[in-house]
Symmetry: C2
Subunit: 491 residues, 2 copies
């Protein structure tokens, strides 16, 4: 992959000086057009060998572009808050909104490549990490983020020369550290590993641009032009209709889904309920005081038919816990900051810290439920969401989160009865509105979306638990029992 970046590419200072004003003007032009129209955001990744002039190039970009609408993220050690979350957390929280450009020096490639080079992982781990990365970048691309990736390359000889030059100049001497020389000694290893990583992740939607880095003028001009061309091309692209390419989802010929097969009759008498409630709440409380839980987090997702009793079930869970150990996150319409970013961004903001439980009252599954049924997003958006959500939950699980997901199901008749009851009880009057009645009219569409969701996102790390909720007592106990046993099995 690196051969064509070892040809000794050069651009004379004179030639560069001649090209620079026009390059700058057209870069500003795309930057402002991007800002005004805000159809997408831009993420620029700059990786490559030490001494390859990465930060000089970034500085140059900041001179060319309007620095007010560029964000620079140089990532070193994670902060204590970041260290508790999945490795991608630090990138998610820094994603630029639409219209803006984010520059990442030190990216999601740095960790896996360094780990492999220092022998902390094996090839297969690198491949897995690169596979995740590819999923991540594909999701970004689909979510209207333009991903531009540069890899600055130097031959071993050129790297040595460059480090020596920096060391010889008293103004730049401080920049060369022992670590740089240590890494230089590992040149061939890094070259091999990087090549493997780059090959795996040079995709059609986010290809690598390998830049020969020894000549600064060549490097600046190449990077500047690629950034311009990539943004220009995307700005000028006609609106996509990728939905046409999406294969149709097929319903089972007999029309039967998982939810139809569910027997909603199980019930608990009040006395047994009260008995069980105390017992299960006690067990949950006990689990949260175990030292082992301080290193984990718990994520509970509640989805279900309107009036199925999500709120009541949630209150029976929180009732078992110290208020300091949980957060309930009700998911309503996204804010404008959330709308300007990939749809999963708003959930990354609410991940629990270690030792805590986050309870999502509705969740990222809105994408394949309400957004699908109400057509708030395109068909291909929710079609790809199944895979994106599975990836998301896998990365949560990997970082130590224990995940439980509930679908609360009631019969259509029971829903009607509860709606009417809510409308006539004072302190429940806030729980029912015209929207609930509208959703009820689309009962079948919602059920079929839910069937499909359960099918496609019940995974080993995060299976769905279906809750037969015609009887509230039965439902609440099943929720509690499931949480307790899932945590027990995970510790």
């Amino acid at each position: 992959m690196f051969q064509s970046a070892e040809l000794g590419h050069k651009l004379s200072k004179e030639e560069f000086a001649k090209q620079e004003p026009a390059l700058r003007e057209k870069l500003l032009d795309v930057q402002y057009e991007l800002l005004e129209k805000a159809p997408f955001s831009v993420v620029i990744v700059i990786g490559g060998v030490e001494g390859g002039g990465k930060s000089e190039t970034v500085n140059r970009l900041f001179e060319w572009l309007d620095p007010r609408h560029l964000q620079m993220h140089a990532l070193h050690e994670p902060t204590s808050e970041e260290a508790e979350q999945p490795s991608m957390y630090r990138f998610w929280r820094r994603l630029p909104p639409r219209g803006k450009i984010g520059l990442f020096l030190g990216s999601w490639y740095s960790g896996p490549i360094l780990d492999r080079a220092y022998g902390r992982t094996k090839d297969v781990d690198l491949d897995t990490a690169m596979n995740e990365t590819m999923h991540f970048e594909r999701m970004l691309t689909n979510e209207r983020v333009l991903v531009i990736k540069f890899w600055f390359h130097l031959t071993k000889k050129a790297q040595k020369k460059r480090l020596e030059e920096l060391e010889d100049d008293p103004r730049t001497k401080w920049r060369v550290t022992d670590l740089d020389w240590e890494r230089f000694e590992m040149y061939s290893k890094f070259r091999k590993i990087s090549e493997r990583a780059l090959r795996d992740t040079s995709t059609g939607f986010a290809p690598w641009y390998i830049v020969e880095a020894s000549d600064p003028q060549y490097r600046y001009a190449t990077v500047g032009n690629i950034i311009h061309d990539a943004i220009r091309k995307r700005l000028d692209a006609p609106a996509q209709n990728t939905a046409d390419l999406t294969p149709p989802l097929v319903k089972p010929i007999d029309g039967k889904g998982i939810l139809d097969a569910l027997d909603l009759t199980p019930a608990l008498p009040k006395e047994e309920y009260e008995d069980q409630l105390l017992k299960q709440q006690g067990a949950l409380n006990f689990l949260f005081r175990k030292p082992a839980l301080r290193k984990r987090s718990v994520i509970a997702v509640f989805e279900g038919v309107d009036a199925a009793g999500k709120g009541g079930a949630i209150r029976r869970v929180t009732g078992a816990l110290d208020a300091r150990s949980y957060d309930v996150i009700p998911i309503a319409a996204p804010t404008d900051e959330e709308k300007a970013r990939p749809y999963l961004w708003r959930f990354w903001r609410h991940l629990p810290r270690r030792g805590k439980m986050a309870i999502f009252d509705r969740s990222w599954y809105g994408r394949v439920l309400v957004e699908r049924v109400e057509k708030f997003c395109d068909e291909d958006d929710w079609m790809r969401a199944y895979g994106e959500i599975n990836d998301f939950e896998e990365s949560l699980a990997k970082s130590g989160a224990i995940i439980v997901k509930f679908w609360l199901q009631i019969g259509k008749d029971v829903q009607l009865q509860r709606f009417e009851e809510r409308a006539s009880t004072t302190f429940k009057r806030f729980k029912i509105g015209p929207e609930d009645w509208r959703n009820r009219d689309k009962w079948d569409a919602y059920q079929s979306a839910a069937n499909e969701m359960i099918d496609r996102t019940s995974t080993e790390v995060a299976p769905w638990t279906l809750i037969e909720a015609n009887d509230k007592y039965y439902a609440r106990i099943k929720v509690l029992k499931t949480i307790v046993s899932t945590i027990e099995d995970s510790l």
Copy 2:
């Protein structure tokens, strides 16, 4: 202050059981009304002695209220990100949006009281801290946050009994630590210090409610009722017109302000400019590589007349720096998340970490400039903002931030000339719009607001530097020189 909380207040279990359903219903009622109308947010502070049942009470509130619209913040050690910021940062970042309730267990009182009790500070430091706290709470109140503060009190005898009870019960034994007994030994000291702190901060807008904590039923019912009454009263309060109470601002009789007295003619020839530019940029770059700067941060504020050259000056500053060490934050209209919180919230989000510079292109001064002139806020809102901004900058300075503030001034004729030039240059066309022409019509109002702002917010820790900007070269060099000398003086 504590006498009336040592009377042995009690509520029998039967009486409590009788009152609870009605209390719960009215609490839910105000919570939902708050949520629907969202006229303000609620911050509840719970402080007091160990063993006073603080967390049990919080748990009870979570049972009574809808936990989906309550946020609980139990604050212990600051995270590494928080430790780099002013002490109030951790509270700012957790402020609930309008319509929601935030519960703080461990608040802005905990640190100062503990510091004093352990002899790390003196009475005068406690008084200063309480004075700041009072400013903070007054600002919150004015910014439509209802602040409710509870202090749970126990006599020494009652505290001992309570700790012993907890220790004797195997289910709660784990909750009593050596630290609790250590603090118990310091009972009289804590009592004296808390009394001093509470007396200082029991204000009309945010009084303390001291609750005798030995009887749980009495405690729960008292807290529940106070919360209900406070929210109810504020919900029912007629719209305030405090602007009527604001004394008028008076212009100097001769109509002359600081800006009128400014001589805008200083200029630099191009050659000298280029020479000075290199020199000053070099000096700034050098300062950012000093180890002493790694423990400080730099905050630069750029305000000024439209087309005065803020962007150009900012680019000459950033041109001196490594892109990793600064962030430019352009301030435009607030997002909806920002609008739902006190106006300074959006700036707390962008404070620089240590070793970094944050450059604000327009800033919190918008409150007393555009918001004042365009009447986006009431007269009393911008009147009080001067003091709030001074408090804000003082707390930044205290935490180690170096602050420079620039007002760029040009003549009205020069502005016209630049507007016309911008309109006719391709890659500057984005820099001029109808709004700029509208603002120009209000030239005098903006100038008079700026005069007043400079007068009232030029403080010892954060003075304004006026930049004579008719000549761009002169202006840029003065900006750079000021930054360099301010940092030099501070290190």
